[in-house]
């Protein structure tokens, strides 16, 4: 490997409340890891190495949502020492599955689930990183797509905008010649309102998209909900369908007049 002429950009990968699956996606880039190590200094990535180099960092990938008072402080510190901060995955971009607490009483959960509720220190909500600090780019998914993660890193290194389309999953179904599961089978599917990026995996196997990438930028949920009802979902099922991975993100999209930027 060539001796670098200049200091390599420093990469940090940090996590808040999450399952680690998104940062694991980076480790799963087996064919590209050596090339990546030649382009960046992996300065902070606990899942890969216990060696931690101090900030500031040029590129920070943040996984997970803010669920504790400590997280809320920590994400501010992380932001302060990051030039370019990218959130990865549904937890970091929308609060994740753990944001289901936002619709319930956390104290009740604490009392019911834990033998010693007083050991549990948590906020009443799980919130995306962008609710706390400025975020330079949000990469969606539960988990994120490996190719998209590499694209975000590659684009950063090249100083260009990442090519991450924010249209619907339908685009990808049509591109891979998947027969529409809603039109041809009457299967409830969130594809028309969901952000592309997964490659339309679920419909390719005959099931409806369950929206793990969250709402696309111009999702028209009020138009889709009657279809979900027609195809057999009652009101509660629709609510569960929309909230599972991205918590309130679909609810918010439902009431947006103009596309969110």
């Amino acid at each position: 490997m060539n001796t670098p002429q200049r200091a390599l950009p420093k990469l940090a990968v940090v996590k808040l409340a999450s399952c680690d699956g998104c940062q694991l996606t980076l480790l799963n880039c087996e064919d590209e890891l050596l090339a990546l190590a030649g382009q960046v200094e992996i300065a902070h990535f606990l899942e890969a190495s216990s060696v931690v180099r101090p900030g500031p960092y040029d590129l920070t990938l943040v996984e997970g949502s803010v669920t504790t008072a400590d997280d809320a402080l920590r994400i501010r510190r992380i932001r302060a020492e990051s030039r370019h901060l990218v959130t990865i995955g549904a937890c970091a971009t929308a609060g994740g599955i753990q944001a289901l607490r936002n619709f319930a009483d956390v104290d009740e959960f604490r009392r019911t689930v834990y033998a010693r509720p007083d050991y549990i220190d948590t906020l009443a909500t799980s919130t995306p990183v962008s609710a706390h600090v400025d975020v330079d780019f949000e990469l969606r998914g539960c988990p994120i797509d490996r190719g998209q993660l590499l694209e975000v890193i590659t684009a950063y290194l090249a100083g260009r905008k990442p090519d991450i389309p924010d249209h619907s999953v339908c685009f990808d179904c049509k591109r891979r010649r998947t027969v529409c599961v809603t039109v041809a089978h009457g299967t409830p599917c969130l594809g028309p309102v969901t952000h592309a990026g997964c490659g339309a995996i679920c419909p390719a196997y005959g099931r409806g998209c369950y929206g793990c990438f969250g709402p696309g930028r111009s999702a028209n949920l009020p138009a889709l909900i009657p279809l979900l009802r027609r195809d057999g979902m009652d009101e509660a099922a629709v609510e569960r369908f929309l909230r599972t991975f991205n918590a309130a993100a679909f609810d918010e999209a439902a009431f947006d007049e103009e596309p969110r930027s």
Binding site: E32, A35, L36, G38, Q39, L150, I153, T154, A155, L157, A158, R160, D163, P165, D166, H167, S168, C170, F171, K174, R175, R177, T178, V179, C180, T182, V183, A184, H185, C189, G191, P192, V193, G206, R217, S218, A219, N220, P222, A223, L224, P226, L227, E258, P259, S261
Partner: protein, 400 residues
């Protein structure tokens, strides 16, 4: 209707436009199911990739065929706005289905194509390589007359101007088209009201019409080009008998009157051009998912974007062309933001281009009445109804 003659006679397989003389003395024949299978085998032996209809995942899709067994024998389709179901037919017909989720642009104008790549050497010098390799030599079996017209439109768009799409042009030149005339229009079909019809009028090498009666299951064949004549000569066939020909022509003729839908008989070019401020667009926007399905299934929608791919080192770059859609917010992105942010403006753009400004740009309508956008719209938006509403609104405004 003008028929593109782009590339005519320059390579094998291009359907030659029939002259008056050949139209009068059109070569015809009859083949049976075994003859159809021989046709596929002959084409394959000639090195062609044969694409035709086959059943997959609950729909008649287009895929590579290696024998006539793969055709959708005994399957029909039940269509409506936002609705598609396969239904069993008792007559065993192989071409009695309506247009499915794909069109031939899937092959002629693929969703993603690598254009070129560039390598940066250790000395910083760039080496650029053309990445459009040799294109497959296709034979399309079962092209509906609406889709023949759609191909003619894409010919004008992608190969008819000063800046031809090289890949499209090469694939198109090499493609042999075997039409299947329409005897079973679907409930979302409206080709007749788009100045088309269920008969293959031009642009084919061979045109088949399926005939099933007590005399057997057979295909009336019309020859549309020299290549088609050569192909027919290579497979077992018989002289067309009067009964088969009469049944074939009669079936197609009856189909004209059985279209499930009709575009209102108004001047679409003028109507759409005069309706940018129509209130109907708001109503439409409230129903439209902006999912882009209509443009993806449309056999004439041709828009692409380019995608620049670099690797982590930045020493290797590739340019790809991929399908895009005017329903994508980024489609109208210019520095600072997208121009068409509302669903209203995007749907209006699509429909106005398709039915009105397409005339200004390419000399014809962009719609052939295949009905795919109606069938495959998840919420069943029906452009014939939208046009009817625009026309009614216009009429109301004129009356005042």
């Amino acid at each position: 209707m003008a028929v593109t003659k782009h590339g005519e006679g320059t390579s094998r397989g291009k359907a030659t436009a029939r002259t008056e003389a050949t139209a009068r003395t059109e070569a015809t024949a009859v083949i049976d199911r075994a003859g159809l299978d021989a046709l596929i085998k002959t084409l394959t032996a000639d090195g062609r990739t044969v694409i035709g209809p086959t059943v997959r995942d609950g729909a008649v899709t287009l895929a590579e065929l290696d024998s006539a067994d793969a055709l959708p024998w005994g399957w029909g389709t039940e269509l409506d706005a936002g609705h598609y179901r396969l239904v069993r037919r008792t007559d065993g017909a192989g071409f009695a289905h309506s247009s499915g989720p794909q069109s031939w642009k899937t092959f002629l104008h693929p969703q993603r194509e690598k254009l070129w790549s560039a390598e940066r050497g250790p000395d910083g010098a760039l080496t650029v390589r053309d990445e459009r390799g040799e294109q497959p030599s296709y034979a399309f079996l079962g092209v509906r007359p609406c889709d023949l017209r759609a191909i003619a439109i894409q010919d004008r768009v992608l190969a008819g101007g000063r800046f031809a799409d090289d890949g499209y042009q090469e694939r198109r030149r090499g493609a042999l088209l075997i039409a299947a005339e329409c005897t079973e229009p679907g409930a979302t079909c409206f080709c007749v009201s788009m100045q088309g019809g269920p008969a293959a009028d031009a642009g084919f090498d061979l045109a088949l019409t399926e005939v099933i009666s007590d005399l057997g299951h057979r295909f009336f064949v019309r020859v549309g080009s020299e290549e088609g004549a050569r192909l027919l000569a290579a497979v077992p066939h018989e002289v067309a008998d009067m009964d088969t020909e009469a049944r074939a022509r009669g079936g197609v003729s009856l189909a004209r009157d059985r279209m499930g839908r009709a575009m209102p008989p108004v001047d679409l070019r003028t109507l759409l051009g005069a309706s940018p401020e129509s209130e109907r667009w708001d109503d439409l926007a409230s129903r439209c998912l902006t999912c882009g399905n209509c443009t993806m299934v449309c056999p004439t929608c041709f828009c692409t974007t380019t995608e620049e791919v670099t690797d982590l080192t930045g020493d290797h770059a590739e340019r790809w062309q991929r399908w895009d859609s005017c329903f994508d917010l980024d489609f109208s992105y210019v520095h600072g933001g997208a121009v068409r942010t509302s669903a209203r403006s995007r749907h209006r753009q699509w429909l106005t281009h398709k039915l009105s400004t397409w005339h200004d740009q390419f000399g014809s309508s962009g719609c052939v009445g295949c009905g795919r956008c109606v069938t495959w719209c998840p919420v069943g938006i029906d452009l014939t109804q939208e046009v009817a509403a625009l026309a009614a609104e216009r009429e109301g405004a004129d009356d005042e």
